[in-house]
């Protein structure tokens, strides 16, 4: 076998006290598409960032073409031929495609002027080779995400990239666009480029890769030629942790319908979304990243406008609503990104926790510190928050921050609580605290809608599971029918019957 284009050996990486990578080894060979798979939080992104030169590994060796390297910046990586294409391309929207490709290294004419003709020629050549009908002079403004990725790929090609790493490039693409991307990938592979393809989508992985590596919890749990894998095996490896964590969803009395949505549509994002959530029920919304789950939640909460459809809380119909109105109707939303959307990092826990209930901390029009304290401490105590509530939240750990976000929503006493990835990036202790709280709340009659990519969590917590794929609901599974496999099949867009067959093929998992 030839020398690998990139070879990672025993890479370790921690952020603070969190170990993200624990001894990962990976080799990419020229002329091969290597797929890297794993659940969210498995450590894929960190690995990609190390290869891109954005992070330095704590330990381990990194070889390019057999030579030991240490990237301190992305441009160093690019110079030795390692290019990365991210899910959201970082382009200059006001400049042309050709200029984006050649920024900071434009070819020059004899007089020292920028050689636009040469630039355009070179980009046009690549565009042609990739079979894309774009012109080099076109501005990037107005290009679809897929086309923007093409621009990034061409940028990588002009670096004469020997290694091309694509981090979930298809997450935001339509089927047609994916097809075109794959043609490009195929062409590059045949030219001897080593490709690393990070994806959740099983069918894509099997369609294009020669080699598959599966990661879980910062480790490689399986690696081999694509022909040696079956879909089921990949899924099993990905999720295959034992259900050791405690998911104490107790039985709760399922009551009246709290949330009923009908025919929700937001063009280009999701459509035909209808479901309901009842009192005491935890409904999970499962699916892959980019399937439109978060977007549905945002629309229900009034953050993004709906193109059509109806959101009904109890008897109240919400239309063109704002979060303020949604809150009045009794909805709470624990957003997916707690630092960007959930908390004001510089403010104290107390102020963050009462931000949603400002009306209730007043007395005679003024803020009563006592009431603030009462409300904030009631919920933070209940979740056993560590740390003083008059300290800014940015000194807290991820898990404790998540508890603050939960607390601020529970303080509104919502009828419906939407939680988006409630346990992402939190430690085990906080995780079970969150689960215990959610379960408790359901018991007290709250309706909970939970978005999660953590399948064991979904299965353990939910009474009912709705699965989304590419903006549509593809399955509704009762708790008793749900296995990681059934969910994953629906989430990867396999047809219903096929999902069933495959699930049956996995003995002992299906009832």
């Amino acid at each position: 076998m030839t020398t690998p284009a990139i070879e990672l050996v025993d890479i370790h990486k921690s952020f603070g006290s969190t170990r993200v990578l624990e001894g990962v080894s990976l080799s990419l060979f020229p002329g091969e598409v290597h797929s890297l798979m794993g659940e969210n939080g498995a450590g894929k992104s960190t690995l990609v960032k190390i290869m891109a030169g954005l992070h330095l590994p704590d330990k381990g060796s990194f070889r390019v073409n057999g030579r030991e390297v240490l990237f301190r910046s992305t441009s160093q990586a690019q110079q030795v031929g390692v290019s990365v294409i991210y899910q959201e391309p970082a382009l200059f929207r006001d400049l042309s495609i050709a200029e984006n490709v050649f920024m900071h290294r434009q070819p020059k004419t004899a007089y020292g002027w920028i050689d636009y003709a040469e630039m355009n020629r070179s980009v046009a050549k690549h565009l042609n080779q990739l079979g894309v009908s774009l012109r080099p002079e076109d501005p990037v403004l107005g290009l679809s995400i897929a086309d923007q990725q093409i621009v990034e790929i061409i940028k990588a090609l002009t670096f004469e990239a020997k290694v091309l790493i694509m981090d979930e490039p298809t997450a935001a693409l339509s089927l047609e666009e994916v097809k075109r991307l794959f043609q490009v990938v195929e062409r590059l592979r045949s030219q001897g480029v080593a490709l690393l393809f990070v994806s959740h989508r099983l069918e894509e992985v099997f369609a294009i890769s020669q080699r598959i590596t599966v990661m879980r919890d910062g480790r490689v749990v399986g690696s081999g030629a694509a022909t040696e894998w079956t879909t089921e095996e990949v899924i099993r490896k990905m999720v295959g942790r034992s259900l050791d964590a405690l998911y104490p969803k107790g039985s709760a009395e399922i009551g009246k319908v709290v949330l009923r949505v009908r025919e929700l549509r937001r063009a280009g994002v999701f459509k035909d979304i209808s479901f309901e959530v009842r009192q005491g029920e935890i409904v999970a919304l499962a699916g892959l990243v980019g399937a439109g789950r978060t977007e549905v939640a945002r629309a229900i909460f009034g953050i993004d406008p709906l193109d059509s459809g109806e959101v009904r809380i109890g008897e109240m119909v919400l239309a063109n609503h704002t979060p303020e109105m949604a809150m009045k109707a009794g909805i709470g939303l624990v957003p997916e990104d707690r630092q960007q959307q959930g908390l004001v990092m510089e403010m104290t826990t107390m102020r963050n926790a009462t931000l949603t209930v400002l009306r209730r901390v007043q007395r005679f029009g003024l803020v009563s510190r006592r009431k603030e304290w009462e409300i904030a401490s009631r919920w933070t105590k209940r979740m056993q928050l560590k740390g003083h509530i008059e300290e800014p939240v940015n000194v807290l750990s991820g898990g404790n921050q998540q508890k603050v976000v939960l607390a601020k929503w529970l303080a509104t006493r919502p009828k419906l609580l939407i939680v988006d990835e409630p346990t992402r990036g939190v430690d085990v202790g906080a995780k079970s605290e969150v689960h215990r709280t959610l379960s408790q709340l359901a018991k007290e009659g709250m309706a909970v809608m939970m978005i999660s990519s953590d399948l064991p969590e979904v299965i353990g917590m939910a009474d009912r599971i709705l699965v989304m794929h590419e903006g549509k609901l593809t399955a509704e599974l009762a708790r008793s029918d749900a296995t990681e496999e059934t969910i994953m099949f629906a989430a990867t867009g396999q047809t219903e019957s096929k999902a069933g067959d495959k699930a049956n093929a996995a003995p002992g998992k299906q009832k």
Partner: protein, 340 residues
């Protein structure tokens, strides 16, 4: 589905293309229309003297607009230019007074050097002191003008003491166009080429368009931003020397308040205040439009007080229009659009 997608993309490209091209075109049209209308109402509007005055009036603003364009392209702003003009204008005059017979070019070079030094103060504070450009240049607007007053203190340089050959720059013409305007036109051509044909020029656009991506592309953003403020300082220094040539008499107040006209011209000329978009030609046309506009007001005997209000309204109109077009474009291309 794909065909449809592609046709939308193609449409957009066409549409954007015409839009970009049409900013300059529509400015030219507006200027022509305004000139024609005014000339019908008052035929003296297009008399040679009046045209000469018009060109002279716009020249110094247009010159400053060149520097400001570079700054705004990078999402920055330079309010201190008027104070730099004030200092360098008086400096040039003093040089003529204290060193009779000093070559004109030396004076201009010294003024430009002084502009560079003052620009360097801004550059250092913004690029390395990490103070937002607005605050820095607001502060230096004060400081430079204060220093100007403290230094000049009621003195005045009179036209008598400035050599005729230097004053000629502000008065005499070549091929019917004042020398001052020629200087601006030459610099306009140089800036146009610089921003279009050199890496540094393109990097100014890149930084304003997407600062994060600029860093990823390996551009030294700090250094480019600093370069921009140095350029702005140099231009302001030159403008100071030419201010003396144009007006002959300068005191400590030279140039006070013109930063607003310069910024308004630049923005009206299509340089987006959010960075990354615009050309120097457009910006200079913006300056010309405003100048023709104030001239029109004079010819139609509208009190000159109306000028300022019109200028403000035009600036608001320009940014509102830019925002509207950008918003419409965002809707058309269906980029995921977050509400916040």
């Amino acid at each position: 589905m794909t065909d449809q997608g592609k046709s939308i993309v193609a449409n957009n490209n066409l549409w954007v293309g015409t839009l970009v091209r049409s900013r300059e075109a529509s400015l030219v049209l507006l200027i022509l229309a305004l000139t024609a209308t005014t000339n019908i109402l008052n035929p003296r509007f297009l008399s040679p003297q009046s045209l000469k005055d018009l060109m002279l009036n716009v020249s110094i603003i247009a010159l400053l607009v060149l520097g400001q364009t570079v700054i705004i392209l990078m999402r920055q702003i330079d309010l201190s230019i008027s104070s730099i003009v004030g200092i360098t204008a008086f400096l040039s005059g003093t040089l003529f007074v204290n060193h009779p017979g000093i070559p004109n070019l030396v004076v201009v070079l010294i003024a430009v050097g002084a502009g560079l030094a003052l620009g360097a103060v801004n550059a250092a504070l913004i690029a390395w002191g990490k103070i937002p450009a607005l605050i820095t240049t607001l502060g230096t607007l004060y400081i430079f003008r204060g220093a100007d007053y403290a230094w000049v203190h009621g003195r005045q340089v009179n036209a008598v003491n400035v050599p005729g050959s230097f004053l000629a720059v502000g008065t005499s013409t070549c091929l019917g166009i004042p020398l001052l305007t020629w200087i601006v036109l030459i610099l306009l051509a140089l800036f146009s080429i610089g921003l279009r044909q050199y890496r540094t020029g393109r990097e100014f656009y890149a930084i304003g368009s997407n600062p994060g991506a600029a860093v990823l592309a390996g551009i030294n953003v700090n250094r480019r931003v600093a370069t921009g403020f140095l350029i702005s300082g140099v231009i302001a220094g030159l403008a100071g020397a030419l201010w003396l040539a144009r007006f002959g008499t300068v005191d400590a107040t030279a140039g006070e308040g013109i930063e607003l006209s310069v910024i308004t011209s630049t923005v009206v000329g299509g340089v987006a205040i959010t960075g990354g978009v615009g050309t120097v030609v457009g910006a200079v046309l913006g300056a010309l439009l405003l100048s023709v506009f104030s001239s029109t007001l004079v010819f139609l005997r509208v009190p000159s007080f109306w000028q300022q209000a019109f200028q403000g309204a035009m600036l608001l109109l320009a940014i509102a229009m830019d925002a509207y077009l950008a918003h419409r474009h965002a809707l058309r291309s269906r980029v995921k659009w977050s509400h916040v």
